[in-house]
Subunit: 354 residues, 2 copies
């Protein structure tokens, strides 16, 4: 087994465990100071080891986006899971019922169609399935649009024998926490007025993590990327490059001109996510290098503005724009402390598409 | 086992085997008519079954971009493999030597550093490693820039006891075949003048597939995406939507407004590759629907210009912008004929990052 990162073949994903621990501890400390409960989203790491660590440090449970991810985490001993997704389809609903029999589970719905599926599946269940109504607080993705719709869905949940109305869930857009807060408050108020007070109000997102305590009506917060951070989160001011725990180790395989280096990490390693940024990642130690283009197996670095030129064969560490989908592209990741490889972990919840 | 696509859980990848067969046959027939040799790139499908079928239909061998893919294909009985990549690093070079002992193998180089690694590794090999010089014909990625550089590298290969200079390799940019041809011809001419005539001249790319016969000096052509086609290739005029063999089956999980539907296929299913196109795929049966945004597990469809509105729970088939990275995101794909599931295949060469 390799004991130093120089012995690893490339491309490879390195996870700095000291930074992971610092990121987790910093966030849990912040949450504790404000009486906030954390329910971390495991999509970023997809590793049972880190999910268990998040709970150990004080998280009240975890968030999974996919039933398949939740099944992996239940197998790993996690006991409290929120699936903030509309689960539809016979096969998935059967799996959901089986999952609900072994962990404390809550799901979301933003339509009667989804609620009817849950109600059919849990009609004869020993304990009711907790269902939150998803509301759109500006993201423009899923979620009810008005307080009236939220009340109507809460009533439908409440009227179903196998279901329990549990509250509200939202994924707010980055950078607009005040506006999202106002929408969420109006939804909650309408539910209280209708006699269906939300016991859970779940919100999240790493970009606005440090203002989470201002959403005082929330009962829990679901950050995901905070464990690794990435170039996008640094751009949003959540941390610095020195806090980024996930890097892609790549080798310079070609340098056809003095201003161009090509690495063996393309979109199959870094993903083509731009998230509004310029370039596909930050090359550590080469502040003026720009990862200008990716094909599947090549990353093309523009060195025209960089006095430093990496040599062919040189190994580079890259902070990707978006850490989460990188975790989904690698069967294994290497946990490192400084340049030492501490462990190699199978990404157990990778590729759980359904 | 599901026998109809309605029984499959979503998101799922469907491969229409009748279209695959038609695409493969059409291309092989075209190649045969022009005396062209095909060496298909397996990165698109990553399936031993289809690699074998390509060879059975007349391909002279296959192309793999990664050593790990080549190892999978060698295990599957493929006997002739081109790896058009600079292979660097001790571990990879050891694997390359082992691979060369069991298949007819050729690799590429565009620098002395790469050649030196090959030379060291194969110095005492029973038969020499065939090495092609990669040249840049306008792609701006890897490859030597001038005929003089090509000659210098060919000489270095020729002077190494464990290596055999085999010719030229290029991946030309889409839409500029004439310019690429001229550069390639100049490289070949310089090599002939230097007494190192290229016996292999390998070019490729599906976008300019139907003008492949105009590059008369090429000895082989490496199309990849032609087996499935995709939205990008249709935009380039290589085929029509009715030729596209790979679709992503997704379910509408939400419709928060009449003009918005959300599907359970996001960037983890469709990838965030745009390739210059508008939107992240074509929704079959909904010509005016626009897949306007993707997050990891959600695809947001803008229906503002569409009179047809898919219902929650409805299943949609989507032609992705780029088929190849989709194959890399799913552990298995379903082979279908019309709406019938014929087989489910493990994507054996998925995730071979090194």
């Amino acid at each position: 087994m390799p004991t130093h990162i120089d012995q690893l073949d490339t491309p490879a994903v390195l996870i700095d465990i000291d930074r992971v621990e610092a990121n987790l501890t910093r966030t849990q400390t912040y949450a504790d100071a404000h009486g906030l409960k954390l329910r971390p989203h495991i999509k970023t790491h997809k590793l049972p080891r880190f999910a268990r660590r998040q709970v150990e440090l004080g998280a009240i449970g975890i968030t999974c986006q996919k039933l398949g991810e939740a099944e992996v985490m239940a197998d790993a001993g996690i006991e409290d899971i929120l699936l903030p997704y509309n689960i539809l389809g016979t096969e998935k609903l059967h799996r959901l019922r089986r999952l609900a029999e072994r962990v404390a589970l809550a799901v979301t719905a933003d339509s009667l169609v989804t609620i009817e599926g849950y109600a059919r599946t849990f009609a004869d269940a020993a304990s009711p399935l907790r269902v939150l109504v998803e509301c759109d607080t500006g993201m423009g993705r899923c979620g009810v649009q008005t307080p009236d719709e939220a009340v109507a869905l809460a009533r439908a949940i409440d009227a179903s024998s196998g279901l329990a109305f549990a509250g509200l869930m939202t994924y707010p857009p980055a950078g607009a926490p005040a506006a999202a807060r106002a929408i969420l408050a109006a939804m909650a108020e309408a539910l209280r007025s209708a006699g269906l007070p939300p016991t859970m109000i779940s919100t999240g997102g790493t970009p606005d993590l440090w203002s989470a305590h201002e959403t005082t009506i929330a009962t829990e917060y679901r950050p995901g990327t905070y464990i690794y951070l990435d170039r996008y989160q640094v751009a949003k001011g959540v941390g610095t490059m020195d806090d980024c725990a996930l890097t892609v180790l790549a080798t310079v395989v070609s340098s056809p001109t003095p201003d161009r280096a090509v690495i063996d990490a393309g979109s199959k390693a870094l993903t083509s996510d731009l998230l509004g940024l310029s370039g596909y990642g930050t090359v550590l130690g080469y502040p003026d290098a720009v990862i200008a283009g990716l094909s599947e197996e090549h990353g093309t670095i523009d060195l025209s503005g960089s006095a430093l030129k990496p040599a062919i064969g040189e190994r580079l560490r890259i902070v990707p724009n978006h850490a989460c989908p990188v975790s989904n592209l690698f069967d294994r990741v290497h946990l490192v402390s400084a340049d030492h490889v501490v462990a190699t972990e199978i990404v157990a919840a990778r590729g759980r598409v359904d």
